[in-house]
């Protein structure tokens, strides 16, 4: 990986005579072992969902599949490595850059492996005023990690998250797909962490929504078939607005 040269903002010290500082920052995926993604293939369920997804957007706009298919790939393969990005781009198919820019723009795509249980503690203002920051500190201290780190046994990744839309049920944390709300005592937090530690599998990934909306055993939505009309305009996938 080549180093990337970036300019830190000259106003880091807010203007008072600070000069621009040029420094080297490593590539975001430096040091990440993606060998587990050497050979990738979607499960049958994912292939079926991909076929269904193609029927839900107008012809010629397969770019709309980037988010749903990348989300599905993350659920299938655990995290989004450069290999996963290439795989998704070929599966749709769209240029790799289109997938890469989505993978790096949106925060829910994990660009490096995460622990079995992904604990996201909300520390935005509504949670913070009733103890959200203290909750994050407590969880980190209990697991012996700093925010953003994964425990040595790979069981927990803890991060402080921005608003998750549970402001009235604060303090809260998201564990994988599940919201755990109203965590209003240390005893509750202790019990939750103990339960998770004893869990051999990733919890909170609902089998009915394992791959995203519209899937699961016997849950496939009716297909539209070709009824969706693309309209009269001729356009290329790059055709913007």
């Amino acid at each position: 990986m080549t180093d990337r040269i970036t300019q830190t903002t000259a106003l880091e010290g807010h203007g008072h005579g600070t000069l621009p500082v040029w420094k080297r920052t490593p590539e975001p995926d430096a040091g990440v072992d993606a060998s587990v993604h050497a050979r990738l293939e979607f499960s049958d369920a994912a292939k079926e969902r991909l076929a269904w997804l193609r029927t839900r957007y107008p012809d010629g706009y397969q770019r709309a599949l980037v988010l749903p298919v990348l989300s599905m790939a993350q659920r299938e393969f655990g995290w989004v490595s450069p290999q996963v990005i290439a795989f998704v781009a070929d599966a749709i198919p769209v240029p790799r850059m289109w997938v890469e820019e989505v993978a790096t723009f949106y925060t829910m795509y994990n660009k490096r492996p995460i622990g079995r249980h992904h604990l996201q503690v909300c520390t935005n203002v509504c949670c913070a005023v009733v103890g959200g920051e203290q909750l994050l500190e407590y969880v980190c201290r209990k697991l012996g990690v700093h925010p953003g780190e994964t425990t040595a046994d790979g069981r927990f990744t803890v991060i402080g998250a921005e608003c998750l839309g549970a402001c009235g049920y604060a303090p809260m944390m998201q564990v994988n797909d599940d919201y755990h709300e109203n965590l209003r005592s240390r005893a509750q937090v202790d019990a939750l962490l103990e339960r998770l530690a004893a869990e051999p599998d990733r919890v909170g990934t609902d089998p009915h929504l394992a791959l995203g909306p519209g899937t699961g055993p016997g849950r496939m939505l009716p297909r539209n078939g070709p009824a969706l009309k693309a309209g009269g305009n001729v356009h290329t996938p790059e055709g913007g607005h």
């Binding site: 989505v102 795509y109 005592s185």
Partner: protein
Amino acid sequence: MAYTILDGHKTLLNFPRGAEGTWTLDSYRTRGGYSALEAVLREGRYTPAGLLDQVKKSGLRGRGGAGFPTGLKWSFLAKQRPAYLVCNADESEPGTFKDRVILEENPHQLVEGMILSLFALEAEHGYVYVRGEYVHPQKRLDAAIREAYEAGYLGEDVLGAGRAYHITLHSGAGAYICGEETGLINSLEGRKGQPRLKPPFPAVIGVFNKPTIVNNVETLASVCSIAEFGGEAYAQWRNESGKSTGTKLFSVSGHVERPGVYEVPMGYPFKRLLEEECGGMLNGMPLKALIVGGSSVPVVDAETAMKIDLDYESCAAHGTLLGSGGVIVMGEGTCMVRSLEVLLRFYHHESCGQCTPCREGTGWIHRIVRRVEAGQGTMVDLDELYRIADNMEGKTICTLADAAAWPAKSHLRVFRQEFERHVHEGRCPFGGRFPDPFHLGPQA
């Protein structure tokens, strides 16, 4: 009280709190669900233009935050077909969690509201863009859409009326900016969620290069009541003084005894919402500050807060905005510099990076406030903060920069003394910590 709507009448949360199974089709039907749709499609209660007219008469304004009149927005839709309806369920404004309740507890009302709206707009296909973190709400809505297909409310020939309606649930992946309607459109098309320059407005060129209407979840769910009772009846649901109509969901968080989502008629006094619905302040602490419409609207002090009636006009008269109805209540003991710092961290994090005033400005003002909070700020910093915030406003493609500037300017204006105290004392008078009412932090 002078409400022309009966107190306790609910149009969106029309079921008991905590009731089981309210999200199923059977339960929704027992509450009168889909009767408006059947009356429109089977009995011809309205023509598309007639329903649009009812929405105009109802005075319904967009419930996502901007408060643009819904009927007027719809009337801008270009005639070219196909056209699309997009439901904005990207709810990610701190303090706002009202749409989640509809998605989780009453998803069929959104589905019915969308079908009625598709009818009025003479469009066929609707997309619901739900934020990616809302896995559980997505599951409920997904099941509701499926039930609606099975019951014939969606499909190629809905209720034998010869019209096709489809709804597709599309999940986001974690970006506040996708709540902006053109950012959402870009995201739905599979791009980065960076807002588009306007014009052209989405009503002319929106998603997939076609005319598009983007409405909030609560707005579309409210269309059911308008189709059921008529626009004029809907417009009566308000208090005497208010011009705003209908009922509104308020999601209350922060230092109150019973936080949660409450549906009240427009113009409901904040004092009454706080004291009756929410059971007063948490542990009886005095009120210090109120953010009434989600984190981006100007903050007000306790005295002003108690005078506010919850409608567009009263909020504006008291120097703030109704916004999305995300009511954040802060009691004494909350450091307003710290709370602003947290908010600005959020806006800095969520700036999409397109426009320089926002990309750089959100970072500058965040760092200034962080420095003041740490006791290292100067009086010049306070003026700089105001000046930069002022310069960000109205200079960008979308209103994210404004959404960061408004709280910054209002915090500084309303709680100037507290900022100055940080500077003069060289430390945070509150120890740099938020209140810890549930004792999760280190014990003293």
